[in-house]
Symmetry: C2
């Protein structure tokens, strides 16, 4: 078994569950948020700092690494873990989402997808088999199937096509998947159409995978529609397998996702907004570049005990960002990742103490107020 | 006494000397190289990392901090140490050099200098008294006088004017200097004119300062001219005081400076070139962005035992820089600072073991070959 997922406790009132995900690179407590290291690094952060924060699982991206620096050079290092010097676990996304959202021209047929690189415009052809082999070469702990992710909004026919093709591709990925020490997760598509989500989930469950992701959400639809989709999709997934909601990282949506039965999440949100000077705090987003913080001696978040909040003032961090100093990006990124990790820790604690529903009722309204409107 | 400088050992063959510089924020072994933290941070590096490398003294810049974020906000934090969370020692440059090299318009008279900010074009007026008070407010361990730094090349008359004015200003700085826990260093000017250097040094020595810097070098003149100027200037400085060569950081020039009697140095070189992908190694500069390193599994410098060289390959670091990843800048910066710190450590060891001249003869030719031609 490449991974072992164990459900330790279930919330009696909601679908929230507490688990452990054992990998060849450590055991991760779930529900968990995965920081994103698209190009083989979580932006602005070292692997030592991730470890220091208690993070055990990160996401990287086969599509980006394929285009730059190329999978071959990573394989020569002995795989992605050694390339980036990370001894924790890695999930690699296939790049389906990136091919369909970043690329310029692309041509898709049943065989695979031809697309142009967002870096240099060069043309590439990827198939489910090839994407699987590339992830085999990367040696991530968890590989993802190649899927077709329709945009939002998309009509039912377009989404149905994507579901059908994603199903066929998932089957081919499974057949092509060779590494016994690497898990393979499927990706449920179906947009915001309940019938299509059910169809997609049923087909993928029937094929059988080590875990099941829900893709095609958090792509521009209102959050309530996303929650509705989770509500009818998650029960269709094999309950004993990992449930992964792709592209979600705002605190309110993480809490809601856990309530609806999600085990792992990923999103660029905490790191991306950090570089734009938007900081997550117990009081909501703090726009640290705002001039009102120019003489503020308090930490980013009074309620936070991260090394950044223990050591630096808002005025200092504002100055760093305003002056274009790299250290500013480091500090806000570190804090935001720490903030989300501590939120997940709190959520796990609530589930483990059989008080998740109470915790949800207490915390959700303010999280939605603070974080609900913005992405 | 704000600082205590003790010469522990002198090279019997050259002017090299080994010392300790005690400050209220720790004791620094000399000869030492000071990393530059112009805007209140050594670019891309945390204070914890500086400490980890064994660095005990950094330089910051009153001119830059005056323009942004303003000295008042730093004073509210209790000074620059607390603002940047650095418990090591700080030397603040007055900004004379910056006013004369960065500014657009400027008007100088005996009273002081009017200049426009390089950030927003706003107009400011600084006098020796004001610059001294601002550094008092910053609370650095060592403040520098305001000087007039002529460009290179400059005629003897222009340089003589600058020497005269810098002398008068140095006297006024000393009178205005109020903090007993802060040292004040003078800056010898005089360009590459021996008579003017002697004049400047004699006047400043007569006024009396806690240390003596040599300014107006490393401003574009050939290195041989700089060494010649050091050769006739250093002997004019009070021998028991710290000798500081401003703006020098290339390995060959550091070694030469020590030989000529310099105790401390500063330069943006190691951090600036790091961000451009130029790495200092035992084999000379390594242009890590070069495609020949794209599949190179070896560390930046085989001879280096820094955490970067222990953990990451050239191929990975090249990838990070090419992909615009902040981590790449962190790693090259860390390595370059470590490299220079270890060079100074080696130099100190050679002096302490009474074999500096031999060390110089062994090492200097290759350092000059590797680092002599480029800045």
């Amino acid at each position: 078994m490449p991974i072992k997922f164990t459900i330790i406790q279930k919330c009696p009132d909601t679908r929230a569950r507490l688990g452990t995900l054992q990998t060849a690179h450590g055991t991760v407590k779930t529900p968990a948020f995965m920081p994103v290291g698209t190009q083989g690094t979580v932006k602005a952060i070292t692997v030592d700092e991730l470890g220091e924060m208690g993070i055990g699982l990160i996401l990287s991206n086969c599509y980006h690494l394929f285009l730059r620096p190329g999978i071959e050079v990573i394989a020569r290092h002995g795989g992605l873990h050694r390339f980036m010097n990370w001894d924790g676990a890695i999930l690699t996304d296939s790049g389906g989402f990136q091919i369909f959202s970043l690329g310029g021209l692309r041509k898709i047929d049943d065989q695979g997808v031809t697309f142009t690189s967002h870096i240099d415009g060069s043309t590439h052809f990827l198939t489910p088999e090839r994407v699987t082999r590339l992830q085999n070469m990367l040696g991530s702990d968890i590989a993802m199937v190649l899927d077709q992710c329709p945009p939002y909004p998309a009509g039912q026919n377009e989404v149905r096509e994507a579901v059908k093709r994603s199903g066929k591709w998932a089957r081919r990925c499974k057949q092509a998947h060779l590494r016994e020490d690497q898990a393979l997760f499927a990706i449920v598509q179906g947009g915001v159409y309940e019938n299509l989500r059910r169809e997609s989930a049923a087909e993928l469950a029937e094929i059988g995978f080590d875990g099941f992701a829900i893709g095609g959400l958090s792509v521009g639809e209102p959050k309530e529609l996303m929650y509705a989709a989770l509500n009818y999709t998650v029960p269709q997934l094999p309950p004993e397998k990992v449930h992964y909601l792709m592209g979600v990282g705002s605190p309110d949506a993480l809490l809601e996702g856990v309530r609806l039965g999600i085990d792992i999440f990923d999103c660029v949100l905490p790191t991306r907004i950090a570089r734009n000077g938007r900081v997550m705090t117990a009081q909501g987003y703090l726009p640290i570049r705002n001039s009102i913080y120019s003489t503020d001696l308090s930490p980013l978040d009074e309620a936070c005990s991260c090394p950044v909040c223990n050591s630096y003032s808002r005025a200092y961090i504002r100055h760093l960002l305003n002056a274009g100093e790299i250290l500013g990006l480091r500090l806000t990124t570190y804090h935001n990742l720490y903030y989300l990790d501590r939120l997940m820790q709190e959520i796990r604690k609530a589930v483990s103490e059989n008080r998740f529903e109470q915790y949800y009722r207490e915390v959700s309204p303010s999280l939605k107020k603070m974080y609900g409107g913005v992405v």
